[in-house]
């Protein structure tokens, strides 16, 4: 068995043990499950920062700032001159390091400054996100109620569009709590939104169940086919 096959075999074997450990939770919570759960969290906690450093901080900030991305022609002239403005990144770095003041009782409020700053950025981005995502959706929701395709009236499309607009308005109306509902038309038609919401929730539920079951089937297939075959190879049956 060559080196590459050995690695693949061990990867399959350990992957199968890990999968069985997670599935052992179905019987009851146990040490085997908890061990692999912690291992998973550890790997995920290591992957996150490394990906940020490798894919963002190094190529976009540190490498150009430290001049490591600078290349020289053999005659000593630079391919691309050093950009001193990258040194300005030292300012957000210094500001971001205020997070660590959280460990000092006296200066903990400084960490709140940078947390507040980040909240402000998220708030502004959320405002932008709403207008750039929701407004086009509102515009596209109001479809023509009478549809002609190639000059011919299309009953099916017209009914579909009408149902779409009516559903949208009824569900929106169902969530309208701001002004007086009792007695008004808006209040009387509000319950009509409920069954439509139920259809939506049902469809979501069905989609979620199918997606999760697809994963479950894939896992079971992995255990039954790949892992059992790998165990067979290991004990000399394969």
């Amino acid at each position: 068995m060559d080196n590459g096959t050995m690695w693949e075999l061990s990867s399959t074997l350990v992957g199968g043990i890990a999968t069985l450990a997670i599935f052992s939770f179905l019987i009851r919570e146990n040490g085997f499950y908890r061990f692999f759960e912690h291992l998973f969290i550890g790997i995920a906690a290591g992957l996150g920062p490394m990906l940020v450093i490798r894919d963002f901080l190094w190529p976009n900030i540190l490498e150009p700032m430290l001049g490591y991305s600078m290349r020289m022609y053999p005659d000593g002239t630079p391919v691309k001159p050093y950009q001193p403005f990258y040194l300005l990144y030292l300012v957000p770095m210094a500001f971001g390091s205020l997070y660590y003041c959280i460990y000092s009782k006296r200066h903990a409020w400084l960490a709140k400054v940078v947390i507040g700053f980040t909240l402000g950025v998220s708030g502004a981005l959320a405002i932008r996100g709403f207008f750039s995502e929701a407004i086009p959706q509102v515009a596209s929701s109001f479809k023509p109620l009478v549809v002609f395709q190639n000059g011919v009236f299309s009953l099916f499309e017209s009914l579909n569009n009408s149902l779409f607009v009516v559903t949208l308005l009824l569900v929106l109306n169902y969530f309208l709590f701001t002004f007086g509902r009792p007695g008004a038309v808006q209040g009387k038609i509000a319950p009509l939104g409920r069954p439509l919401l139920m259809v939506c929730f049902g469809a979501f539920f069905g989609s979620t169940v199918m997606a999760r079951l697809a994963l479950l089937v894939e896992r079971v297939q992995f255990i039954v086919r790949d892992w059992v075959a790998a165990v067979g190879t290991l004990v000399g049956l394969g």
Partner: protein, 339 residues
Amino acid sequence: MVVANAPDTRAKIIRLFTFLGGIYFFSYFVLPESVVESIGIKERHEQISNGFIVVGAMALGLGLFNIIRAHGTKVVFQRSGWRNSLALLVGLFGTIGIMSAQWIGALQVSRDVQDVQMIGEYASKLMAEKITQGAPISMLQGYSKEQLDRASSLIKVRPESQLTSAQRLLEQDLSRKISDLRADGLLTRVDIDEQALAGFAQRAHEVASSYSVFRQSLSSGTTVQRLYDFLYDGLFNQLGSAMFALLGVYIAAAAYRAFRVRTIESALMMSAAVIVMLGQISFGKEIYEGMPSLRQWLLEVPNSAAFRAIRLGAGIAGLMLAIRMWLSIESKSFSSEKK
């Protein structure tokens, strides 16, 4: 210090920075594009955005430190569950170590490839400067010989018996291209013309791209790469899939309770879910031919409309929350000294 002893001033500073944090992105969004362009922000937008990300990225160490402190203490003092904490720390440091080693290796490969690329780039530069303004051609010849020798020795690092058939083909192709380039008159002649230099640059670029492909292919067989594959494909992906699949079992169990038909509304919910599920599998077509189309219609018309209404409602609520957060209306207790 005055600021340090004045809680109100501190609260004001926090609120001010919260507002300042959002002002850039808000202004960039509301200002007309012509204004953004005229003040030179548009061309620097990516770098400025990166600056904001850097502020957040500085918190990475905070997370790592907290994990290490919490679980490290458990391991050191052998408190309850210390073995699990040890597994977590092994996973954490193992990942960081393996990814660092893989990254350093990739950087080295990238440097080597760039050195070979430089042969063609320098030839192109000399050509652009019409030879006379640039450095003497002998400098290019010296550099090219040195880099080609280095590339030749680097591709011979692994014995031929350890190469896959695809790698062997790549190596043969690369060796031939290097020999061709070496045999080019440019490496021996000094009186070179522009056309010959252009041809040399073209062939040097071809060598560089073949060299890059070959080096990338060699990297896939290193121990570090295999350790990374083992960690990522053998553990992380498998554990992640198993976790999500586990939820599938619980969702299926929950479905039993949820789908008990007691009212018209629950009947509607059940019908929609059953149609969506049956429409997705081939068995659904056996029951009713039009099941997939019915599923599609259900998802595209009533479900899409109702979901859009929910999203719009949630979006407006999110907008209000974002404005309150940005203007520090939402987080008064956060910016004040109250605990």
